[in-house]
Symmetry: D2
Subunit: 267 residues, 4 copies
Amino acid sequence: MTGSGVSGLGDRMADIQDGQEDRGIALDRVGVTRLTHPVSVRDRDGRVRETVATVSLFVGLRPSARAAHMSRFLGVLGRHPEPLDAEALRSILEDLRTEHSAPTASIELAFTIFVSKRAPRTGSESLMACEARLEASLAEAFDLVTSVRVPVMTLCPCSVSVAGTPGLGQRGYVTLSVRSGGRVGIEDLVDVVEACASSPVFPLLKAEDEHSLLASALARPMFVEDLVRNAAQALDADERISWYRIEAENLESIHDHSAFASRERGR
Amino acid sequence: MTGSGVSGLGDRMADIQDGQEDRGIALDRVGVTRLTHPVSVRDRDGRVRETVATVSLFVGLRPSARAAHMSRFLGVLGRHPEPLDAEALRSILEDLRTEHSAPTASIELAFTIFVSKRAPRTGSESLMACEARLEASLAEAFDLVTSVRVPVMTLCPCSVSVAGTPGLGQRGYVTLSVRSGGRVGIEDLVDVVEACASSPVFPLLKAEDEHSLLASALARPMFVEDLVRNAAQALDADERISWYRIEAENLESIHDHSAFASRERGR
Amino acid sequence: MTGSGVSGLGDRMADIQDGQEDRGIALDRVGVTRLTHPVSVRDRDGRVRETVATVSLFVGLRPSARAAHMSRFLGVLGRHPEPLDAEALRSILEDLRTEHSAPTASIELAFTIFVSKRAPRTGSESLMACEARLEASLAEAFDLVTSVRVPVMTLCPCSVSVAGTPGLGQRGYVTLSVRSGGRVGIEDLVDVVEACASSPVFPLLKAEDEHSLLASALARPMFVEDLVRNAAQALDADERISWYRIEAENLESIHDHSAFASRERGR
Amino acid sequence: MTGSGVSGLGDRMADIQDGQEDRGIALDRVGVTRLTHPVSVRDRDGRVRETVATVSLFVGLRPSARAAHMSRFLGVLGRHPEPLDAEALRSILEDLRTEHSAPTASIELAFTIFVSKRAPRTGSESLMACEARLEASLAEAFDLVTSVRVPVMTLCPCSVSVAGTPGLGQRGYVTLSVRSGGRVGIEDLVDVVEACASSPVFPLLKAEDEHSLLASALARPMFVEDLVRNAAQALDADERISWYRIEAENLESIHDHSAFASRERGR
């Protein structure tokens, strides 16, 4: 196969994707999914950290367009190595929309961030992983949903109420999603969640830290329902947040399933 | 701990969940998730088959209710061993709503079904697994979304257009979700998906079946976008279906990511 | 493409897999993986239950053989619908070895079983899921490893030792694998695991069951290391078992990682 | 709870883990698993890149030791932020063994690396993700197994042999594990795998790249068995490698399962 031949093939391939489509059926989202890509995020202290994202990129497809050129999604992503923030996401979406002559564009990124934790008594430092998620779209307006999944500890109020029985401490995960125009950062959401549980969790705790943590939790037993209401109160009071969804899941210690509660509200 | 003491404790525990809650915050969904439970489904030929489901059960929680009694979700589920259909799901939801004095109830079940396949030339029989999903809720009305994820094969039109190059056959998955009041069964949805791809896939194919399948696929190359439009045409024409969502994903052979297209429409 | 053409093609395809291979390199395992297939297992009470398995099937490939005929793995599996036990597995392996003229054959199946549980005080019944695994091979001799992963509850001894602090109950998973020539069943292994923990877990517990369970656990606090040693003592004393591996993982309530201990021994 | 009280509690907790254990049962591995931690790796060009690892850390436990102090695993890991290489891993293991007065120590890390790819015709650059794994242990000697999972494309020889039928290109994954005393790097293993397949895969390919890639693959059709033998020949010839395991899995386009082949050999 010669170079000129290949070039000719390339043109013919393009023809197929750009070919006639007359069924009159628009597609909501066309693009690439399950892509693993390096990204960077700026933490609260301004430091840029590299992490690994699972990425989906989409455009809307007009009824008359046969197919999207999938390589263009990769090309746009490769041209945007800057740290992920609202501005960077909007810029990616504008490029996608232009390159595809598309009515809409959207992007979803899921990645791990690390937050610095200090143990309550010894001050021992460690890094705790939280799964973050950014979902941005550009149609008439730009929209951004910021999410984070935070591990916490809750102590069951039933067990605490009975003298002589052990408490049922259990690990839980709270996934908090908000629309704030990018004004509320991922680490701010971690703070909200940790303040709403019986206790935060920590990667590194020495014996005296564990006891301090348990003593604090004992003063703050709660059901998964209480946890969600605590978070709802905090988010209702934050004027920067126009919409939120709180999903809390407790990994029950005495069952092999989870207890769950959720609330979603917009202003 | 004596029996009478335990009984007393049980009463006190109930008190906590039924206790006062005065923050005025309703919760959308409260319940249990990540439960693995045996279920049965009736296939198209009327035969009842046992399978394994991941189950979530929820009720809405009024602002004045402190917490749900989680054991009641398990109790209701245990009292409904009948094959899963619209009637059974509605009955479970009514029981949940009654037991919890709740405004709403919902259930989600994900499980594997098997469909019988016959190889195109030799007629060799095998069983193909598809992941099914039922999501039912009861608020003002009963709502049911039936979904299935079906593996298919698509052949890239670009590769077929060039003499002397191999075609790019690739595995894909189409997830079809519909609202039909339970009138369209899971296996009907499998049929719709298989009719829309370059070819169905089969667990068992002998050499002559493979060649027959490839010859058929060669006559029907398509992009992931074409696949979704094919399905949309079939669903648009089916009056039993009041809403659908089609999500198609091709596991690209020359990339380590997927090509994706989707369309969602209600009447 | 005509029928006779297809038939001819089939013959030519067979030629390729049966073609010459002269590099002198044997392959340990050749076959199919990630296959989802319906299987049935006979429970302790003799009742046959259907479940869903992820299956891998392999044969060893001699240096002179170019490739295995993959459809034969599916054919053999389809001809063995009988409940899975040592005899059925050996029969599948003998068929695989014969059909492939292979020196060795092996099979791995992972599936969910359900065990009946009765809550400790109220006797409420529910079904608890456990993940089981069978790994069988046929070379000079037949070999079978039976495994099961059982959810349990452990109570941290540190927390119990301090008056006034809540106990740290946490969910754990113990995976027990044994060689016993098929004489020790999956449910027997579940019994071993449950007897070694601070407490079993149950899908359905009413308030008084929870308190009974907590009281029992309080009398039996343990580290993950204790749990493994408890199981080792039980298995060391069982003459039917010629080899075992115990892996225990505790989902720490105050961390987002697990504590782990393991021991593997043969006679 | 007062500060001095907490301090006293800490001392008492330590007592429990260090307490008497007289059953005479050694444990092979005790430690922490499912920990998510930031790590860095030095790529072939000497550049240090940050990534996210899932980490397990273990020590062997003597029969007389009751339990390990789990916080020490976190402490050791936190004191080793240097890029992961054989020397760093050995240093971590020596620290673990010392801190736990343990006979053995081991570590397992799984993380994503990115390798730079240039499309075959246009030279378009993109970053391809591969899953890497390091397993190191320290007993009598230091041992290190380096693994990487690489996506590739294979073209079925059967389909190619028949004029007029499309080729069955399909994505595959090859997991290569070697012992080389740390002298063979992860990217070297990626090179070995890519040279053994019908074609490498790329995140970003333009139309003419796709056709070039397909033309190359057409000249090199292979079964999954051929792929493993190609890799075995390359590894057998590399004197730095004292042991290897090759596992290749093809995501069959016409089935919903994988074809698999493996070979493991030591010198």
